[in-house]
Amino acid sequence: MTDLTAMPAVGGSQSRSLFLRGERTRRRHMAESRFRAIGLAAVIFGILVLVGLLGSILANGVSSFRQTYIALDVYLDPAKLDKAGDRDPEALRKLTTFTYQPLIKTAVEGLIEEKGISVDGLGGKDVEGIISKEAPAELRHFVLAHPSRIGETVKFELLADGRIDGYYKGRVTMETAKLDRNVSPEQLMLADELKAAGVLTTRFNWSFFTAPDASDTRPEAAGLGVAILGSIYMMLIVLVLSLPIGVAASIYLEEFAPQNRLTDIIEVNIANLAAVPSIVFGILGLAVFINYVGLPQSAPIVGGLVLTLMTLPTIIIATRAALKAVPPSIREAALGVGASKMQSTFHHVLPLAAPGILTGAIIGLAQALGETAPLLLIGMVAFVREFPAAPPGGFFDPASALPVQVYNWTQRGDPAFIERASGAIIVLLVFLIIMNLGAIFLRRRFERRW
């Protein structure tokens, strides 16, 4: 193709046929395909990574929605629980869970005998060890609620120990059990026998959503109740504070603000706040709301305030975009019939911008819901077992939050908590998906083209 590399005479009818492809053109097309392939590879990589991310969390976490239980007939022995025989609530309250432990041991031994199960080398400790350490507390709770049933044999569905549960989820095997101080192969064999007898069952784990957190040694009892409630409290605070303030600020900036230095400063400020690392907001919360104002640590009110400040820029930016999308003709029409600027804004512009504003607010809330780092600094990592009271008082009670609970569980020793953490992430993601779908629905449903 020498005639191409040199400058050919311009114009002229001596040019080559278009059907002839030069070597250079071929190379250029190869480069084109390569480039395109790289682009496609990047997209596929992105998708694969996403699948891997979600897959790994699902694979680790789905099992937390099922839990192993053992049905047990427990004789509530009056000789142990109520020596005086007067069912005095005060006296019953004084009994600790240690009193209940032997009842469970007796019950399990009775069960083994009744079903005619024999496992070689099964020790005495092993027998009661297949039941969760949470079980005595459960019994105690039951007795305190129904003192009249002392002396009866009551059927309980008690949590199996975390390792037994792990055995049915593939986390624990006979081999690992040999090396594990917390579980023995004999216990697993016993569990298998119980399963065959239909006493041990694995079913949907409602208490994962309702129960509070549990201590290090009882992963099987740990639930998200307090965390979910804490997150809901915080979202309420965020919504109630950030939506009005954000919308008011946007209306001012978009509709009323004169072009001056102050407006400029505010705008630059908002843009920058949107990009300030979230942990800095945590420091702000710690220094101002806790140390200076003296609000309690770990409380949803502090978390809510911090998240409000974080969410404001998002809401303001979305609201301003929504207001900007309302065409000026609407404002002019309102002003034209003698409405004041304020009336035109509140009666006409704001309702038209409402879907956009709501979409922005939902996205802002979703962001706030998943935020972790600032909450660590204001003490929400604390171990909280008590449910906060109803609002508004409950806003000041200690609580946890979903993402913080996840972090909290990853810091524990027992691998069963990894399962719980992944399960909690799934719950969090489900919340986020619902919120995002809501936002998409709003956008589709009310989207207007002017």
């Binding site: 250029r28 480069a31 084109e32 480039f35 395109r36 682009g39 990047a42 997209v43 992105g46 996403l50 790994s56 969390i57 680790n60 303030i245 008011a248 600020a249 209306i251 001012y252 900036l253 603000a257 505010i266 400020n269 908002i270 843009a271 920058n272 706040l273 990009a275 300030v276 690392p277 979230s278 942990i279 800095v280 907001f281 420091i283 702000l284 220094a287 104002v293 003296g294 400040l309 404001l312 962001q367 998943g370 972790t372 780092a373 660590l376 600094l377 003490g379 990592v381 508004p392 993402p403 996840v406 972090y407 990853t410 990894i418 992430i425 969090l428 993601l429 986020l432 995002n436 998409i440």
Partner: protein, 486 residues
Amino acid sequence: MTPGILTIIVLVLTMAGYILGRRRALAVAKRDGVRLHSLPGHYGQAVALFTAVPALLLMGAWLFLQPLLIENQISSQIPDSVIPEGGARSLVMADVRRIAGGLDRLVEAGSFGEDDLSSMRADFTSVRGRLAEVGVALGSDVAPAVFDAAESYRGIANTSSLLRNAAVLATALGFGFLALRRIRPTLRARNVSETFIRSLLIGSSLVAILTTFGIVASLLFETIHFFRLYPARDFFFSTVWNPQFRGGSDLGILPLLWGTFYVSLVALLLAVPIGLMIAVYLAEYSGKALRSFAKPAIEILAGIPTIVYGLFALITVGPFLRDWIAQPLGLGSSSSSVLTAGLVMGIMLIPFVSSLSDDVINAVPQAMRDGSYGLGATQSETIMRVIMPAALPGIVGAILLAASRAIGETMIVVMGAGAAARLGLNPLEAMTTVTVKIVSQLTGDTEFASPETLVAFALGLTLFVFTLGLNILALYIVRKYREQYE
């Protein structure tokens, strides 16, 4: 009366104000037989606003200033003798506040009358035990001066709350009444209430400035405090980070900055090319169907909380890198490493980069593409030689924003990078970052006023300055870029 109940009372008064104002406007108009200037509702609005806003503002200001004023007064009351060697006044003040809170709770619990307080004074050793009952654990027995301070703290706080309640209610009633009295048919109630609302709008937009001010003030204040206890030169130039519980710590920021920089670099090396290529592919090659699906999907991805990525680093990427790369190569045995955190953070940044670049690439006018295609360029030539150079400032801006996010990211590094402050090059070793140390220093058990805790504020300030600089630069570049094509 708590602030919450006070607020409710004010709101009830507000509602009453609205109804009364509206009614009065109608009555006055009827009596004088003239037309009202504004709608009756506007008169009600004006009264309601005058009732609620000044009262609530006063309450807010009071709640904000009260601790400051009381603090100052009490603080001067504490003699220097009770401040322990090497400790700080603020530490003692914290004790005072906690004792005061504990006493409040004791009284509230009813186990304890106001009279008992005086007897308690006589026997200071019991104070600690009694307070422990209500969940206020003290490190040592209470010095008499501290107890006195706590007592007067309680006294002032109680008086102040009473005063506050009275003042707030008086303001609400007073302003409401005045507004009610001013109602005449000729009163331009609409303008009055609109001016009022307008100032509320302005106030709301000032929250952004207040937030920034709060951030800067809290960071700066405690950082100065820190530098009084620990030399700034050591902080900025020491290469050793080794905090001790008992003081004598080395708190050099350099290893943390290095870790932050290293992790961010790995993240950007992954995220920028891939994010950019995704943006290019979606903007220039993909069909409408893929694009209309992929674009919102990417935006949703950008909204996945970082704790999810953190967990991914912890349970999947970390062990994978350790078992398949670090250990076979003998380069390390830790599942948390620079590479773990960097790769996962890179994954997190991919949607961020591609979403920003997509906007930037789409902002390049179609005329540029036409010009290039018209000359016979292939698509990739057009992208690489025309679109990319044209979009370069915007892309640089996007990368800077991504870098700022990487530097400020917390959860991924907390769960993926490790806690060992180290100046090393091996990416498979655990290193730590500024944000990790902010979390660990502020969630640890050290005393708040010790340099080991306060260093977190200095770290936070450093982080804030870095990210702010990057953001301002990025926003400036992007804004210039947009102007170029508008």
